[in-house]
């Protein structure tokens, strides 16, 4: 009987240890403050809004998408993404970009677009005429 618990306990410790180790290894933090994104040396998931006024450019030859993103405080950064323009990009209200800030821009390796219209009616901020 004792052997059973010893053996089982050992396996659980190894399993939990391995999982804990891998969680810390593959862990990516969410960051909604762009100033912090800029100083962070690790890969982060930066959340914010696409600055629509500044539009985006897409370089067909090098497949580079360049656009600007801002956080709730209005801090902005340039984002460069190597890949196609994501499907819902134009209607996206907020974005989650995964990558690293370096040399004046954020090099994203993935972009997640979030479209409010998908699951809930679009409520529009507007002013009366």
């Amino acid at each position: 009987m004792k052997n059973k618990y010893f053996f089982g306990g050992f396996i659980i410790v190894v399993f939990v240890g391995l999982m804990g180790y891998l969680v810390t290894q593959s862990n990516i933090k969410y960051e909604d403050n762009i100033n912090k994104v800029k100083t962070e040396n690790k890969t982060v998931k930066a959340t914010g809004l696409w600055v629509k006024e500044k539009d985006y450019t897409y370089d067909n030859k090098n497949r580079m998408l360049t656009f600007y993103m801002k956080d709730a405080q209005g801090n902005e950064m340039k984002v460069v993404f190597n890949g196609a323009v994501p499907n819902n990009f134009k209607s996206a209200q907020s974005l989650v970009v995964t990558g690293k800030y370096n040399d004046g821009y954020f090099m994203a390796n993935s972009i997640l677009t979030k479209c409010p219209s998908k699951y809930q009616g679009q409520k529009v901020q507007s002013s009366g005429i």
Partner: protein
């Protein structure tokens, strides 16, 4: 009104049914009949509500918010039918619909087995009560009217003949940045319309439509399948609680077994259909991305698989008399299946994962969050509370250990491996709640060793007997499988170029799993076919793992630009882009590719279009399906703005940099973009943006400015000519990031108007997915196994 009333009545009936069934369990004599009537009334009302929802969708009754938000006039019948589950409210309705129907079957089933019915149905009705509260008018009611909460409706959805009415003045709004106009729909507006004799459905004449990504055949099947699986997960919970209520644990295994098997089969199939949809529709080339929504349906499935193994042990060990082994494990896992279904609903529907999922659920409000939390907590307290309450009597049934080489232990280990897998996925999926997230490598690295264990363990356990075995026996029986799998592994290494040590071990372990089960299956094909289920399922798993090794581990991909008319080599295929044609009433474009490899010719047709719904480019991949590999082609972009220009050249210059052209140095100095221009641009007025440049040759230095002119929404560019320098510079584009594109040509050319021939270029990402067919075949085979086993256990459950 009708829909809400019907749903409220259904809620009332389900409460009555629960109470009546509970009273019958407590010994009341004449309450059982009422419980049954109330339950069937609930079912009837839910079906009526569902039919009513379909009716308002099919008749385009846009006075309902749900109809307006998820359907439109142009949807074909099939998709209109599936808009039922296009949004949250409807998908809850679908879940409820299947739950009630399964409840009717469960009532029939349990009424024929001892005194099972009152207990099982009381618990089942309770689950239904909670679900019905979810769609009640306080929460996610699919029958809410569009004016119930003020909502802004784009003018294009409004009947034009009413737009100009002076009474509407107060309700018209416009969005300054886009120039779009909206009507604010409120109950006040509805009253005004009604007083003019206009109904809201005459006023709002079109809806926003369905998300184009959901307009796919598989999306018509996947959600219903998933919700059947979710609904079936209530059943093991109900059986476990029923056993705990009566404090009698012998028969419940036999009675619950077919339900658990059928549930696992259907949920597994549903998960695969979702994966197939992603593969065929989303264009990222994969079938599984460890997305929270995918994960959250995987977790309860993994636990179902675990409990199937330990339930089998309990069932088998009952032959010696007594309740059998692993009673506590089975009860706890059966409770967990449903709790985890609720947890996954919480994760995906409450908005806690807002930032983590492509399924981007917007925060549905604090109220629903709270209710979902209460829902889960109630069932956790109820389920595990009952286990704790009975812990003493449960502990009486604990049984001593068996030999290491017994099939019982192997089955238990299998359950542990499945639970471990479930824990991994739960940890990874729940991380965003704590502001963290894990990369998909986390899941992959954790699952590689588990998959290896599964293969070896299962292969071995099939060779050993119940109770005790000795090693000689095992080796003798497994010799063929061992040799065959070694052979196959070597084949995979040599032919497939598999050199990763973990993948080699995994290939061996899954081959072993395959051959052991294949051998046994062939042996029993002549004998007792009802024993088939387990072996078939395990063959399916083996095929699946082999398919994953091939398609995930050995997929190669390449980006390519295909110029129309020029064949290009991509991944060993010759691809020729022959042009595009409009399809689906000119709303989409299909890009035609002629592909050949040697003498074999294929055609591929990736599609791109701009969706009104998302206001973005949508891309649909094209898949050339082959027996051993798929060629997967995702369109990335199409460009016909580039021109072949014989007498000049196109260049782009970064701000502050220079470029040389025929000894002329061209410097891009700055943008001329004053504040007024910015303001004009923001408010949508006409504007022009200047670009200051300097052309230099020898000592000659000529500064000049080019403009982007935006007039009435039309963009045009200016050009600069200099006789001294013999140059013409035309602005072609500018990017806010600090870059301009220019066309430069010499003026003294015989033909000063440069001949421009447009070049059509299709950019694609091509990838090869070796043996991806095994993934689909594997899952289908596995599911078949589940149904064979479920049928066998259903017949068994009828035996006294």
């Amino acid at each position: 009104m009708i829909g809400s009333v019907v749903l409220s009545l259904a809620l009332a009936c389900s409460i009555i049914s629960m109470i009546m069934y509970y009273l019958s369990f407590r010994g009341y004599k004449n309450t059982l009949g009422y419980g049954r009537i109330a339950y069937h009334a609930t079912a009837m009302l839910v079906i009526i509500a569902a039919v009513f929802l379909w009716r308002i969708l099919l008749t385009h009754s846009y006075e309902y918010e749900y109809v307006f938000s998820y359907s439109s006039n142009d949807l074909p019948l099939g998709f209109l039918f599936s808009t039922f589950w296009g949004g949250q409210e409807g998908s809850f309705m679908l879940w409820i619909l299947f739950t009630t129907i399964i409840g009717v079957m469960l009532q029939n089933y349990s009424s024929k087995r001892d005194d099972l019915e009152p207990r099982v149905m009381a618990v089942f009705s309770l689950a239904l009560v909670f679900l019905l509260v979810m769609v009640s008018p306080w929460f996610k009611n699919p029958f809410a009217y569009i004016w119930a909460e003020p909502v802004f409706i784009d003018l294009k959805y409004i009947n034009p003949s009413f737009v100009g009415l002076p009474q509407l003045g107060n309700f018209v709004f416009s969005d300054n940045s886009t120039g779009q106009q909206f009507i604010k729909m409120t109950s006040e507006l509805r009253n005004i319309l009604n007083s003019m004799g206009v109904t809201v459905s005459q006023f709002v004449i079109n809806g926003k439509g369905l998300n184009p990504q959901l307009m796919n055949f598989w999306m018509q099947i996947h959600p219903p399948m998933l919700f059947i699986g979710f609904s079936l997960s209530t059943v093991p919970f109900a059986f476990a609680l029923a056993a705990l209520m009566k404090n009698d644990y012998t028969k419940w295994i036999k009675q619950a077994f077919p339900w658990v098997l059928a549930g696992a089969g259907i949920l597994g199939l549903a998960i695969m259909l979702g994966g197939y949809w992603a593969y065929e529709m989303l264009g990222w080339g994969g079938y599984w991305a460890w997305d929270p929504v995918e994960n959250s349906s995987l977790i309860p499935w993994l636990v179902s698989i675990a409990v199937i193994h330990t339930m089998l042990v309990q069932r088998k060990s009952q032959s010696k008399g007594g309740v059998g082994r692993f009673l506590k494990t089975n009860l706890i896992l059966c409770i967990f299946i449903y709790v985890l279904v609720l947890y996954s609903t919480f994760l995906t529907r409450s908005g806690v994962l807002g930032d983590a999922s492509v399924h981007s659920f917007v925060n549905p409000g604090a109220l629903i969050y709270l209710f979902l939390l209460i829902f889960i907590l109630s069932f956790i307290v109820l389920g595990f509370g009952a286990v704790v309450y009975r812990w003493k009597s449960l502990s009486k049934f604990d049984v001593q250990d068996e030999n290491i080489l017994s099939r019982e232990l192997a089955l238990f280990t299998a359950a542990i491996v499945m639970v471990a897998s479930a824990i991994i996925v739960i940890v990874g999926t729940s991380a965003p709640i704590f502001g963290q997230s894990v990369e998909t490598t986390f899941y992959v690295q954790m699952h590689l060793p588990l998959a290896i264990i599964i293969g070896l363990l299962n292969g071995l356990s099939m060779l050993i007997k119940w109770k005790k075995s000795n090693w000689n026996d095992v080796v003798k029986k497994g010799l063929f499988s061992l040799l065959a799998s070694l052979f196959l592994t070597i084949l995979i290494i040599v032919l497939g170029g598999v050199y990763d040590i973990m993948l080699i071990i995994l290939s061996f372990s899954s081959s072993f799993l395959l051959f052991v089960n294949l051998e046994i299956a062939i042996k029993i094909v002549k004998g007792n076919k009802k024993m088939f289920g387990a072996y078939v399922s395990h063959i399916g798993i083996a095929l699946f793992i082999l398919g994953v090794i091939g398609s995930a581990g050995y997929s190669v991909k390449q980006d390519a630009d295909l110029v129309k008319g020029i064949p290009t080599d991509v991944l060993g295929y010759k691809m020729l882009f022959t042009g595009f044609k409009p399809i689906d009433n000119n709303t989409k474009y299909a890009f035609n590719l002629d592909i050949n490899k040697g003498d074999v010719f294929y055609k591929a047709e990736p599609v791109m279009y701009v969706s009104d719904y998302t206001n973005s480019i949508m891309r649909v991949p094209s898949i050339v399906v082959g027996p051993t590999r798929d060629l997967y082609i995702s369109p990335l972009g199409f460009d016909d703005s580039q021109t072949n220009n014989d007498h000049g050249q196109h260049i782009s210059i970064d701000k502050g940099k220079s470029v040389a052209f025929n000894n002329i140095n061209l410097t891009f100095e700055s943008f001329d973009f004053p504040q007024e221009t910015r303001e004009a641009m923001m408010s949508g007025k006409d504007f022009k943006i200047g670009v200051t440049l300097v052309a230099e040759k020898d000592k000659l230095k000529i500064p000049f400015e080019l403009f982007l002119i935006n007039k009435n929404g039309q963009r045009s560019f200016t050009s600069f000519e200099s006789d001294k320098l013999n140059i013409k510079v035309t602005l072609e584009n500018l990017a806010a990031s600090g870059k301009v594109d220019l066309a430069i040509a010499n003026l003294d050319n015989n033909n000063p108007n440069v001949v421009k021939t447009p070049v059509e270029t299709l950019s694609i990402e091509a990838s090869i997915k070796p043996f991806i067919n095994l993934v689909w075949i594997g899952v289908v085979v596995m599911v078949l196994g589940f149904f064979v086993a479920a049928t066998r256990r259903l017949i068994e459950s009828r035996e006294k």
